[in-house]
């Protein structure tokens, strides 16, 4: 077999495999489409329920091999690369290094989430904990299991608060067809996108899009804009899954409760330590 022939053969196998995948995937979508997202009284898709990402974005939003305690994963960044400015790429690498160095006393790292701080956005969405959506006519509420974080997203046309920095930003929502679009500004510079040190400044501006693709699936697309850190806006995208277990409900991961002994025991008198 000539080199060319084998190359052509390999290509056609690949094309067939891709086509097969395509058909399978189209069928899966067709099945799912049989059960569309229910509608709220106002006709909008009703996103009420318990949702969770199944990506490895919490550990690293980009492609990464496995490491101790970290599952390997394919990135959620469109095109794979994050367009960091030169200084910012260095900062990101520094962050990543420091996120692997636990403090000798408290074991916290440079990652703000290791201190049980509110994870910010979009990280709260794809941490490996569920979050609950409640949808009212003038607001959408998102309550996250991790660290009892939450946000109330007005959908009543009100504008952003100016000049206030927040860990979870200031969210304002509106509907574009069946997509809930959430515009978020008003961040502080203290949260990261993942454990790998991907970061932003207080100039972060997110546009999140929650699009139902079936009753039990949302597509979550985020446009990330931060002229102080990136050379251009970039996007990440992933599915969110409805938790379907009977009686599935939001519980509580009160991170601080488990961190306190590490944070404060060395400053406490031994006799009073422990519960």
């Amino acid at each position: 077999m000539s080199r060319l022939t084998s190359a052509v053969l390999a290509l056609s196998v690949a094309v067939a495999a891709l086509a097969g995948f395509g058909i399978g995937s189209a069928r899966a979508h067709a099945d799912a489409a049989l059960v569309p997202m229910p509608r709220a009284v106002d006709g909008k898709p009703d996103l009420t329920g318990l949702w969770q990402a199944l990506s490895t974005a919490e550990w690293n939003i980009q492609d990464h091999p496995a490491s101790a305690g970290v599952p390997a994963g394919q990135g959620v960044v469109d095109g794979g690369e994050i367009p960091y400015q030169e200084w910012a790429l260095k900062q990101k690498q520094e962050n990543e290094k420091n996120s692997r160095i636990p403090d000798p006393v408290t074991a916290v790292t440079a990652d703000p989430v290791s201190k049980c701080y509110m994870p910010g956005l979009p990280r709260a969405t794809y941490m490996p904990y569920p979050f609950e959506i409640a949808q009212a006519d003038k607001a959408v509420v998102m309550a996250y299991e991790f660290a009892r974080t939450s946000r109330v997203i007005p959908t009543d046309g009100t504008k952003h608060d100016e000049g206030v920095e927040n860990w979870m930003g200031d969210s304002r929502g509106h509907w574009e067809g069946d997509t809930l679009v959430v515009d978020v500004t008003g961040f502080n510079a203290d949260t990261w996108f993942d454990e790998a040190g991907n970061f932003h400044s207080e100039a972060l501006h997110l546009v999140e899009r929650f699009t139902p693709t079936s009753r039990d699936h949302l597509r979550y697309d985020v446009t990330v804009e931060d002229p102080k850190v990136f050379t251009r806006p970039w996007k990440m995208s992933m599915p969110l899954y409805r938790r379907l277990e009977p009686h599935a409900q939001l519980l509580e991961y009160h991170c601080l409760e488990f961190l306190e002994p590490r944070l404060y025991s060395h400053l406490s008198k031994p006799a009073a330590k422990g519960k």
Binding site: T48, Y117, V152, H254, E257, L263, Y264, S265
Partner: protein
């Protein structure tokens, strides 16, 4: 009981006199009358004024949505104070009272705090009617004595500090009881046909309370905020919370002693009395600790101008570390001083 009746009568007369006024003015006046009643008697009205037209959602539930606050309850104790009852009227009265009781650890200067005229109420308990908490069970009495013995100094350990000081929670129903927390007494209510959502400014807490009668999770799932289930009884929203952990104080730091446990049930009742007032009642059924259930009632006032900001409590909490490290440093200095001067009486 007699004066409560007469308050209703006065309100009715005022409403009649204002019959010619626009509906909104009447409503406003009614709200003010009730607020005045609260101020004058310390009693949170139990039912709407005659003729009050309760606003309803599109699906027919009483409409509680919007911003509410109860900063006028700051500094008001749960129990009827023994001896002379002092009415808290000005902000300084409340500060004085808080100072007298030691104040919350890490409390800031007075200008930190939100100022509102106080409503003049003197305590929150409505049952038992004598205004005092029911006696503790023998188990709780023993636990409390044990806790007092082992408590040590206020800066010995993070565990000697309140869970709210540590930014964990103010608990249920404590998150809606200002106690000696001098700010952030604002709450947003949001409703859907199947849920009531309450957002608390303090420690950025949110509860999504289902109304569909689903069962509580199993008894081994225990949390700081518990597991809430709501339903409407007439025009009153009733929320039952169970599955509370063993660590949550019942009312922030307003009540010392053993708190929640696996047997604790908290029943909250929200009744809209006027456009400007919700009566909030909480019954604590905690048979392991108290020999009888007890109930508090407090007002929530409408305040559309109130804005909830993100209260990043733990993220900004320098208090616990500085109090502890300061105390350890002080001990070291004292120890050095003692060893440096043998025979010193210190």
């Amino acid at each position: 009981m007699k004066w409560r009746m007469s308050v209703v009568a006065v309100v009715a007369v005022s409403a009649t006199l204002c019959f010619q006024m626009s509906r909104s003015s009447v409503t406003l006046l009614a709200a003010q009358s009730n607020a005045a009643a609260t101020l004058a008697t310390g009693v949170v009205p139990t039912s709407p004024d005659p003729g009050y037209k309760l606003p309803r959602t599109a699906w027919g539930h009483p409409d509680l949505q919007g911003m509410w606050e109860n900063s006028e309850e700051i500094g008001i104790p749960i129990e009827k104070p023994r001896g002379e009852v002092r009415k808290l009227v000005t902000q300084d009265d409340a500060f004085d009272e808080a100072d007298k009781r030691g104040g919350p650890t890490g409390a800031g200067p007075r200008w930190w705090y939100e100022t509102k005229p106080f409503n003049g109420r003197t305590y929150q308990l409505i049952d038992p009617p004598d205004g005092r908490l029911p006696p503790l069970t023998p188990w709780a009495t023993e636990k409390q004595a044990e806790a007092r013995k082992n408590r040590g100094g206020p800066a010995d350990s993070y565990l000697s500090m309140g869970v709210a000081t540590r930014c964990l929670t103010r608990g249920i129903p404590g998150s809606m009881v200002p106690g000696y927390f001098m700010y952030n007494a604002g709450y947003r209510f949001i409703q859907t046909p199947t849920q009531v959502i309450i957002q608390y400014e303090m420690i950025h807490d949110v509860r999504i309370i289902p109304l569909d009668g689903r069962p509580h999770p199993g008894p081994n799932i225990r949390t700081w905020f518990g597991d809430a289930r709501g339903h409407w009884e007439g025009n009153t929203l009733v929320v039952e919370t169970t599955n509370l952990n063993d660590s949550t104080p019942l009312l922030g730091s307003g009540l010392s002693g053993p708190g929640t446990n696996e047997q604790t049930r908290v029943i909250e009742r929200f009744t809209r009395i006027t456009d400007g007032l919700i009566r909030f009642e909480a019954t604590i059924d905690n048979p392991k600790v108290f020999t009888k259930p007890w109930t508090i009632a407090i007002p929530l006032k409408r305040d559309d101008s109130y804005q909830i900001f993100e209260y990043a409590c733990h993220e900004g909490n320098k208090g616990v570390v500085t109090v502890l490290s300061g105390a350890r440093e002080e001990e070291k200095t004292e120890k050095a001083a003692r060893s440096g001067r043998p025979g010193s009486t210190r």
